[in-house]
């Protein structure tokens, strides 16, 4: 039997039942499962994972009247349907157009459930990196729930306020429960799974704008004031990147930066190659010299 047929029959059996069904009952009712307890169990587990991955609300509940208590499975129709959006045709079409104009990496199954592409193609205007962890965090921010993840090898519990994509990177702004303060994270540095936790306790704050923050300003350390001289040939580029800079007589500029992440600061200064030099502070200057000496 086709796996698709078995999965559909499993979903129908669960939706049809008015009480939790045990694994054995499901095997008897559906058919199509392999002989033998171990093989059945393995296939059944995979099927459950598949249903859950597709968003089917499969629940495990004790079967009433069993002794010893046995777990069974069920799927309530109300959970299956959820809150219907009831989109008008033009609303669905506008969402379809939006997903055509802005292409997010990954598969878009949501639109199918709402009634599919309403026809009409549009030229893609932009492509944005996207993945499941981002979707989980955006949904948690919308629903005001905390998320847990690992960042820089540390477990964090954060109440997300906003996920922002700017200059090619995703940032998470939110309230860090462990540090009891607002924090900004680079999403690509989050490792492992992001899990959703309990409801948020803090009001949504005004997240700092990651566009105003540069890589060297993202960190847990105390900010250090640094001065960088950039030569005339790169001055226009520096002005464009940094905005306010001090103009020198020879056409060069001096930029004052607030550094919390020395590594990112070093990368930034190196991007000017031999057209830039760290003037202050002595520690960051010494760091740069040591780094360059190691490279020669």
């Amino acid at each position: 039997m086709d796996k698709l047929e078995r999965l559909l029959n499993l979903a129908a059996a669960l939706l049809d039942a008015d009480r939790p069904l045990t694994a054995d009952e499901l095997r008897d009712r559906i058919g199509g499962y392999p002989e033998g307890k171990t093989a059945f169990r393995r296939t059944f587990e995979r099927d459950k994972d598949d249903l859950r991955a597709m968003g089917l609300p499969l629940k495990v509940e004790p079967v009433p009247g069993t002794d010893p208590p046995t777990d069974g499975y069920r799927m309530r129709r109300a959970d299956y349907t959820g809150t219907e959006l009831r989109l008008e045709p033009d609303e669905l079409a506008s969402l379809h157009l939006a997903t055509n104009l802005v292409r997010l990496d990954g598969a878009d199954t949501g639109l199918l459930k709402l009634g599919g592409g309403a026809g009409g193609e549009a030229d893609e205007v932009g492509r944005v990196p996207f993945d499941d962890a981002l979707a989980v965090m955006i949904a948690a921010a919308a629903d005001r729930r905390a998320v847990r993840f690992t960042y820089n090898d540390t477990e964090r519990t954060v109440e997300p306020w906003r996920l922002s994509f700017t200059r090619g990177h995703w940032y998470l702004a939110g309230y860090d429960r462990t540090r009891e303060d607002e924090r900004l994270y680079r999403v690509d540095r989050i490792s492992g799974e992001v899990t959703v936790g309990d409801p948020a306790t803090q009001e949504v704050g005004a997240p700092s704008d990651p566009t105003d923050l540069r890589g060297w300003e993202l960190g847990d350390g105390e900010p250090v004031r640094a001065l960088v001289r950039i030569d005339a040939v790169q001055a226009a580029h520096a002005r464009h990147l940094l905005g306010e800079v001090e103009e020198l007589d020879d056409g060069g500029v001096v930029a004052e930066l607030s550094v919390r992440n020395p590594e990112a600061f070093r990368s930034f200064v190196l991007s000017f190659l031999d057209h830039a030099e760290i003037l202050e502070p002595p520690e960051l200057r010494a760091d740069m010299i040591a780094w360059l000496e190691a490279a020669t």
Binding site: G55, T83, G110, I289
Partner: protein, 316 residues
């Protein structure tokens, strides 16, 4: 569309197709296929060889789904379990919210009203803070430059650009036949025919210092496309061994071959369009990158020479 759908992809589609066909009281195969991105042959096979056998115990005719296809028109009956669409997961909703809010931020108007209504309904399902949960900026080039370029694309007229080539560290002025303005991973690009290079080029809009519209019609129209980066076949290649910590390089830059070395490092081959670009990358990576091989005319000690040049500044 991809040639073959997985069982999961087919099931996700069927759980959407069934309620839609039921609600429409029948629909044409072609329409279902387009609307649900379901290759027609696969759709017919799945409806007639799978869905027709779906039901509940004891699988008597009255406890099974009925599918009828006559003259390419599909009717589905007795599919009570699947008569309503499956709920949107919060993650699926978040994707739609992100795409929708990004389009709103483009400030393009015509679609805005229905889209605002759709996002409001989506927001109600997602939670109280949906409006502020996500913010996408497709690029940070000046609005005025983008407007000039978009208008020139629409009018099919040439533009004159003062353009800063970051890789080569040069400011040049060129006449371009603009073909398309697009955003990729946070930057705006202009794809067009460059009369200075006498070839197709892709420009980063944030490096356009000034864009001047002209009334001269374009002479070299281009067919679609325009990748944000396309190396030249003649560009020299470099082979690097990267520490796993530097794996972001593989994601951030176009690579031609990637493999894992016996020592656990990542082996990567890249095209080098301009030497300063490679100098920057190697200096930034420091001990996390080793040059295994570099093609002519790249000097073997490229990074060391660049480091020495910079060090000279600090020692003078």
């Amino acid at each position: 569309m991809s040639a073959k759908l997985t069982a999961r992809e087919r099931m996700t589609r069927l759980l959407a197709v069934i309620p839609w066909v039921v609600e429409q009281d029948g629909a044409l195969l072609d329409e279902i296929s387009t609307r649900f991105d379901y290759p027609r042959k696969q759709l017919v096979d799945d409806l007639t060889q799978v869905v027709l056998f779906v039901g509940v115990h004891p699988f008597t005719p009255d406890s099974m789904i009925e599918v009828d296809i006559t003259d390419d028109r599909v009717q589905i009956r007795y599919a009570d379990w699947f008569a309503q669409p499956l709920r949107l997961t919060p993650e699926e909703g978040a994707r739609l919210l992100t795409a929708g809010r990004t389009v709103l931020s483009l400030g393009d108007d015509e679609q805005a009203t229905p889209l605002l209504r759709a996002l409001a309904k989506l927001g109600m399902a997602l939670g109280e803070s949906a409006d502020s949960a996500v913010d996408v900026r497709l690029g940070d080039a000046p609005e005025a430059t983008l407007a000039t370029l978009r208008r020139a694309v629409a009018d099919q007229t040439q533009v004159e650009l003062d353009y800063y080539t970051y890789g080569r560290d040069q400011l040049t002025t060129r006449t371009v036949d603009p073909a398309r303005v697009f955003s990729d991973h946070g930057n705006w690009y202009l794809h067009g025919y460059c009369h200075r290079a006498d070839d197709e080029r892709v420009f980063r809009v944030d490096r356009v210092r000034d864009a001047r519209a002209t009334t001269t019609p374009i002479t070299h129209p281009l067919e679609g496309g325009g990748a944000s980066f396309s190396p030249d076949g003649d560009d020299p290649r470099v082979r690097l061994a990267l520490d796993p910590r530097a794996s972001w390089v593989v994601e951030q830059y176009p690579t031609e071959a990637v493999s894992t070395r016996d020592d656990g490092r990542i082996d990567v081959v890249m095209a080098v369009t301009a030497q300063p670009w490679l100098e920057r990358l190697l200096l930034r990576l420091g001990p996390d990158a080793e040059v295994i091989e570099s093609g002519e005319p790249l000097p073997a000690d490229l990074a060391a020479a660049a480091a020495a040049r910079i060090l000279a500044r600090y020692r003078s």
